[in-house]
């Protein structure tokens, strides 16, 4: 079978593998950083060592995660040169600049202050330390902005002209602020915060279920829940908005994620397919389960379509995405997880409000704990599914409508790409196993509940306590 693989497919597989693996790590680097900022702010405000210990414990997971994120990010950048040289030449004027900005503005900021955030508690004044944590979080979120801007440009290229096999930028700000940018950045930033909070809540729920450090983990759980309360509903809205922009700018992708084979006229009221078995050979679904008349409600919140929708069959086979089944289900997995997370959050909030949410609840209701524990891997799955929808759905284009993926790949010896791909596959599997192993060891060991804040600050606490009691 390998003999039939061409170099474009191999380079795509390698990009997919390295991107899917890489995406696991920036989630916490971005979302958990915000949590660390909140914790440190509470600690500085209250001077209660509990919050200092919170910051130190979650930072342990943060650093384990961060190192792998940095390392697995390297192949992402270099692949554009090694495996996608024609794309680099085609779009380098803009795409390369944006990656350069990301490095200089975001990545360096994050890395430059990370050392102080992790090891500088005794070395710098508390205010500088807090500022460093803020810079780490700010840098990570700026990364989200630049990377999503660059990726959105591939989805909706704008801000210049295409000629002689090159993209010529005419308006940089229009290219950065391309039609997909704003909503994609928001959707991704919310996703990292939501999944990070699910991770914090899951670890807290697991520990509470076993009655480990209950006071500590009940606080971290509740804080994560409060943040989720703001984020989860917004994310549903942002997700809907993203689907609307796909309908507007990428009709082929919309048709694929909905397994919509035939054209739908404006004013019609098509059914919404819940589950189906898409069959590309016949250009139809083998079977489907659908809700009559629901499609336009979901897409436009109105009873009839205001615009006609083109089905997959109306495009030539080389102008629309394939792997319709993958796109159809990846989209549904993402949406289902988003909705389920919001429902779990609402249920927990209700319990809390009714006074039923205590450290004991988690041991009392294992199903409740397990629902939260499983929400963390589900969060990652939702993010990966979303990226599959975004990038597989863009096919056969690398730069939508302008540069085909087949033309964007370097002509390389098959053996070369096969070798690097195989090494990545083995290496990443091993890394993932050990990352989970060491992560679970940190969790099993739990927080250090006797850790004392830095000496300088302890004095400050004593002084402020004294002044308060006086």
């Amino acid at each position: 079978m390998l003999a039939t693989l061409d170099v474009v497919t191999l380079s795509r597989l390698q990009f997919a593998l390295t991107a899917i693996f890489h995406m696991l790590w920036p989630v916490l680097s971005t979302g958990l950083a915000i949590y660390l900022v909140v914790l440190e702010a509470i600690w500085l405000r209250t001077r209660n060592p509990l919050y200092y210990r919170q910051a130190r414990f979650w930072a342990k997971l943060y650093v384990l995660n961060f190192g792998i994120g940095v390392a697995s990010g390297l192949p992402m950048e270099f692949q554009f040169g090694t495996n996608w040289a024609p794309l680099s030449e085609f779009a380098g004027d803009f795409f390369g600049s944006v990656l350069g900005f990301e490095g200089a503005m975001a990545f360096m900021l994050e890395a430059g202050f990370l050392g102080i955030m992790l090891f500088g508690w005794q070395k710098v004044p508390p205010v500088i330390h807090f500022l460093s944590t803020v810079m780490v979080a700010f840098g990570a979120n700026l990364s989200v902005f630049w990377i999503l801007s660059a990726n959105s440009w591939l989805q909706t290229p704008s801000g210049g002209t295409f000629s002689e096999g090159h993209f010529h930028v005419q308006n940089y700000f229009a290219a950065i602020n391309n039609p997909f940018m704003v909503r994609s950045v928001i959707h991704m930033a919310l996703a990292t915060v939501e999944t990070s909070m699910l991770v914090v809540a899951a670890i807290s729920a697991w520990s509470l279920m076993r009655q480990k450090a209950p006071e500590f983990f009940l606080f971290s759980f509740k804080l994560a829940l409060v943040i989720l309360l703001a984020v989860a509903p917004l994310q549903i809205l942002a997700g809907h908005e993203s689907a609307v922009q796909v309908a507007e700018h990428q009709p082929t992708k919309l048709a694929a994620i909905e397994a919509l084979w035939d054209d739908q006229a404006a004013g019609s009221s098509p059914a919404w397919t819940v589950l189906a078995s898409p069959d590309e050979a016949s250009g139809s679904n083998r079977w489907s389960l659908s809700v009559p008349g629901a499609f336009s409600w979901i897409l436009e919140t109105r009873p009839q379509l205001s615009q006609p929708l083109r089905g997959l069959n109306s495009w030539p086979a080389d102008q629309r995405p394939h792997m319709v089944g993958l796109l159809f289900y990846a989209f549904r997995v993402m949406v289902a997880i988003g909705l389920a997370a919001a429902a779990l959050m609402a249920l927990s909030l209700l319990l809390w409000w009714r006074g039923g949410l205590s450290a004991a609840s988690f041991a009392q209701w294992p199903w409740f704990s397990w629902a939260w524990i499983l929400s963390a891997p589900a969060g990652y799955l939702a993010i990966e599914s979303g990226w599959v929808v975004r990038c597989v759905g863009r096919q056969p284009w690398t730069v939508y409508g302008q540069l085909r993926t087949a033309d964007a790949a370097s002509v390389l010896p098959v053996g070369e790409v096969l070798t690097s791909l195989s090494v990545f596959a083995v290496l990443y599997t091993v890394l993932l196993v050990f990352a989970l192993y060491f992560g679970s060891r940190i969790i099993a060991k739990g927080p250090n509940l006797t850790l004392e804040p830095p000496a300088g600050l302890a004095t400050a606490v004593i002084l402020s306590d004294a002044s308060e009691s006086a």
Binding site: F66, V70, T82, A85, G92, D93, L99, A104, M108, G120
Partner: protein
């Protein structure tokens, strides 16, 4: 416009050289310490070595990411052509950097540290060696067609001269790593690294001499540049300065100085780097594709410069602050 078409690619060539130089110096001592960690006599001493890198390795590695991004944005053609030609060593370098970074974090949490120690050291050797191979291959020239696309074989990087550069760069990293450790440690560990520094200085010197004397035979373009009368003063002064610095380095090591060995090594790195830069300029894909042929549009470079140019001093300031905050000797916690 005429002026900008000459000026902008030149500015970006200088910025790229700056990023690469900062990377080679800063991650150079990280990788050097990583290689040296293979020889640490005890676990507690190895811990000190690792702690000396804890707060900086990540930011140091970021200069490479920045260099990549800047090369991509300013010279997209070079980015595609060079990285495609260096497919093998680039992925070996990435592999080495991944192993290094991951071993660093895993070791922290492991009870049995031995496999991670080994992985940390081997990753460092691999990254350093493949960087040397990349450097050696680029210096001896990358064959391209008229459009600047790579036309050579996938094994272009396998040759004696890039092997010599690789071995020399490994030695150079060990040297700068040793002098960094002289700066950051004390007692027995410091004395050990005075010895490794002396050894590495000798082997680096040997490699550098070999490269210098074989360079004229490596490619026609290098030969022309080296014997070009316009550059003659430069290529006469450079080795003299180098000799003076090496003498100073050995003297400062003999005198058990703490700061100067590192300073002289950094100056030697800068000097070698300047020499290489002048040898290839204005080629960005040596021997034939110049920065003017490979550059992105002038407006693109101006746009990038306005953003990144402002950020360069800011990045330098907070990186320096990081070093100041953690100044002084490393102690085993």
């Amino acid at each position: 416009m005429e002026f900008l078409e000459w000026f902008m690619p030149t500015v970006w060539f200088v910025i790229l050289a700056l990023f690469l130089l900062l990377y080679v110096i800063l991650d150079g001592f990280d990788l050097g310490v990583g290689i040296l960690s293979l020889t640490s006599p005890s676990e507690s001493q190895r811990t000190i070595l690792m702690t000396s890198l804890g707060n900086v390795w990540d930011a140091n590695e970021t200069w490479l990411v920045l260099m990549g991004g800047a090369l991509f944005g300013a010279f997209p053609l070079a980015y595609g052509t060079i990285l495609k030609a260096l497919y093998g060593p680039i992925y070996l370098m990435i592999l080495g950097l991944i192993l290094r970074a991951v071993a660093f974090e895993f070791r922290e949490n492991a009870i049995n540290k031995r496999p991670w120690n080994l992985m940390f050291g081997i990753g460092s050797v691999l990254a350093a060696g493949s960087q040397g191979i990349c450097l050696g291959t680029v210096l001896s020239g990358i064959p391209t067609d008229a459009a600047g696309h790579f036309t050579g074989s996938a094994w272009i990087w396998v040759n004696p001269s890039s092997l010599v550069v690789a071995l020399t760069l490994i030695q150079g990293y060990v040297l700068i790593g040793s002098t960094y450790l002289i700066l950051k440690t004390s007692g027995e560990l410091q004395r050990l690294h005075v010895r490794t520094a002396r050894l590495a200085a000798a082997t680096t010197l040997g490699g550098a001499l070999l490269i210098t004397f074989t360079a004229p035979f490596a490619s026609e373009a290098l030969r022309q540049r080296l014997f070009d009368p316009a550059f003659l003063p430069f290529f006469v002064v450079l080795p003299l300065l180098g000799v003076a610095l090496i003498v100073q380095l050995f003297r400062s090591l003999a005198m058990q100085q703490e700061v100067w060995p590192f300073v002289y090594t950094v100056l030697l790195f800068i000097l070698s780097f300047a020499g290489l830069g002048v040898m290839v300029f204005p080629a960005v894909i040596p021997p034939s594709v110049t920065i003017f042929q490979a550059s992105s549009s002038v407006s693109s470079m101006v746009f990038m410069l306005t953003f990144i140019g402002v950020l360069i001093p800011i990045m330098l300031i907070y990186n320096i602050y990081n070093y100041i905050a953690f100044r002084g000797k490393v102690s085993a916690e």
